[in-house]
């Protein structure tokens, strides 16, 4: 792993982590009034997106979309404004945290019903192929999406039509409070089951952070060269409750050992250690961190100062 590349990944990761932690704090002031699913703990894949993929590649995501949106290059000012319900929000306050979009970086939308942005991403891939554009469609979803019918319908279609898309399953082991073992066959992991459908399928733990970049780069290359879709399963973990700003460790649905192991193996710490070992000065890193934190401050200031939409303005958006 090249140290400059690692620094870029660290920068992305640090931004997503701290933006999310800041939301968690500010949320307590009751001004961010929409269901918000934080990505803290699940940033690793998103931190690599802009180092692997082009701006022209498209992406869709689910209810837990902040990391993907930011990783793809979405405006953080517009995202925070959206969560505050302001007219400057990326969806003009009509969508909230679960409906993010930034067409400038081809983040094509996130949706709030588990699984239901997956076919949309397959549609983007079909359009890329139809128009003979050299673009890839990134499709982000969680482990519960594997339980939906539409996932299987969609992946079958992508395989059948040899569409340029990457199915990215971030498996955080829980669907709200329901553990993976209550929902799926634990004897055969997701990626093995999916491989049986006739698609190349790879599994990786995101604690193994250097490999995340490599696998994504491999996947991109595979899709472009082989002209086929690919499926990636990343093991990851969320720090906070399913929805909202609080920790929920006291509920006891997640074993303490499990929580601790993910805290200890936080990729963010590992990347920073790597940078220090590679002789990137502490000073350089902390300057970068300060710059990121100041950008986050600016995003929050912008959102707070922005106006709420006029109460009848929603009526403009039923039909074009």
């Amino acid at each position: 792993m090249n140290k400059n590349l690692a620094l870029k990944i660290y920068e992305n990761f640090y931004l997503i982590r701290n933006l999310e932690e800041r939301i968690s704090k500010e949320y307590l002031n009751w001004q961010m009034r929409c269901p918000t699913h934080l990505s803290v703990g699940q940033e690793m894949v998103s931190a690599c997106i802009n180092q692997v993929f082009s701006k022209s590649d498209s992406a869709v995501s689910s209810h837990r979309a902040h990391a993907h949106y930011v990783g793809k290059g979405g405006s953080i000012k517009k995202m925070i404004s959206e969560i505050y319900g302001k007219e400057t929000g990326c969806s003009k306050g009509l969508g909230g945290s679960m409906h993010l979009i930034d067409l400038k970086c081809n983040f094509m939308g996130s949706t709030a019903i588990v699984g239901n942005s997956i076919p949309v991403g397959v549609g983007h891939a079909m359009a890329h192929k139809y128009k003979k554009e050299n673009r890839i469609s990134l499709i982000f979803f969680g482990d519960a999406a594997i339980e939906t019918g539409v996932f299987f319908e969609s992946i079958n279609l992508a395989i059948l039509h040899k569409l340029p898309c990457i199915f990215i399953c971030e498996n955080n082991n829980y669907s709200v409070y329901s553990s993976f073992k209550e929902r799926q066959n634990t004897e055969i992991s997701i990626h093995k089951r999916i491989a049986g459908l006739g698609i190349k399928s790879i599994k990786l733990n995101t604690q193994n952070w250097k490999e995340v970049f490599k696998i994504l780069a491999f996947a991109k290359n595979y899709v472009k060269k082989q002209k086929k879709p690919i499926f990636l399963e990343f093991l990851t973990y969320r720090k906070y409750e399913h929805v909202g700003p609080y920790l929920d460790n006291h509920l006891g649905y997640r074993p303490k050992k499990e929580i601790l192991s993910w805290q200890i193996n936080d990729p963010l710490k590992k990347i920073k250690n790597f940078l220090l070992i590679k002789k990137i000065s502490n000073n350089k890193i902390s300057l970068l961190e300060k710059k990121i934190l100041s950008n986050i401050d600016k995003a929050f200031d912008y959102a707070k100062k922005s106006k709420l939409p006029k109460e009848n303005n929603y009526k403009k958006y039923l039909f074009k």
Binding site: S91, G95, I101, N116, M126, V150, L157, K320
Partner: protein, 350 residues
Amino acid sequence: MRKIKFSTAINEATDMCLNKEKNFIVFGLGSTDPRRIFGTTNKLVERYGKKRVFDVPTSENALTGVSIGLASSGVKVLFSHQRVDFSFLSLDQIINNLSKWYFMYGGQKSLPITIRMIIGRGWGQGPTHAQSFQSLFSRIPGLKVVMPSNPVNAKGLLISSILDPNPVIFLEHRWLHNLEDKVNKNFFLTKLNKSRIIKKGKDITIIGMSYSSVELKSLEKILKLNNIDAELIDLISISPIDYKTIYKSVFKTKKLLIVDTCHVSGSIGSEIISKLIQKNVKIFNKKPVLLGLPDFPVPTSHGYISNYYPSRKKIFLEICKIIEINKPKYYKGFFSNKELDKPKIFDGPF
């Protein structure tokens, strides 16, 4: 002008749009099979290739989502279901994504998607192959819903639907497919949001939609025989409702009969009556009447059908009741109930 069938008009409209629009794709189960969705997709794959016209897996929900992905990337879509009933597998995509994509991202991506759904009737289509349910689709904000009733408006409405930047649900009654009429060969548009006055009149307003508009038109002879000067309206636009046309007519006649093709409760007919009263409580001088299907699933055996679908006789007798004609005159052959299970113009396949 040459005469063509309704199904040919659908085919012609699709063909013309494929020819005109480079970024336009047509798919649906049966699009390229030997039957070609009752002939409506004849010769399209031969003309435009399987990149643009193709058959699909039985994945209604995913394909609706795929349509959204295509449309939001600038590729227009025409997606067909051989029965309305099959489209219910895609209600998540239709309700949660398709109808609100433009809205929930603040007007950034509109979706030029047309979904054709075919309504079955007769020959034992039964509970899950004969549902109409325009009422359901019309209740979803963000969808335009149309019901063509003849070959002329089928062609114009389908072209308008495909070219519209918004999602359109296009409900075709299977019994209309063999209906023939003179249709202009040229490319033409028909407004999606306008009802059509079939015949002007002053005694009573009668509204039909889809196949029931054909039934209303077939009553013209008996209405004339009984000196009833009815204003017949073909609703066409199910959402939005063309209240301007309807209000004007009912305000003039003060009497209203609606023949819906769906279950009566919570129907479009019911909605129209409610809105008219909300606008003007004195608009009627006789109580409005709504005919449609009972609030039961569609039974299969033709033994049940005589009382399930409103017959021409029933429609006519309701008109007589409203207008207070106690001894209506009939012509020979008016009382035929065969059409309830299979109309003269239609021999299947269903």
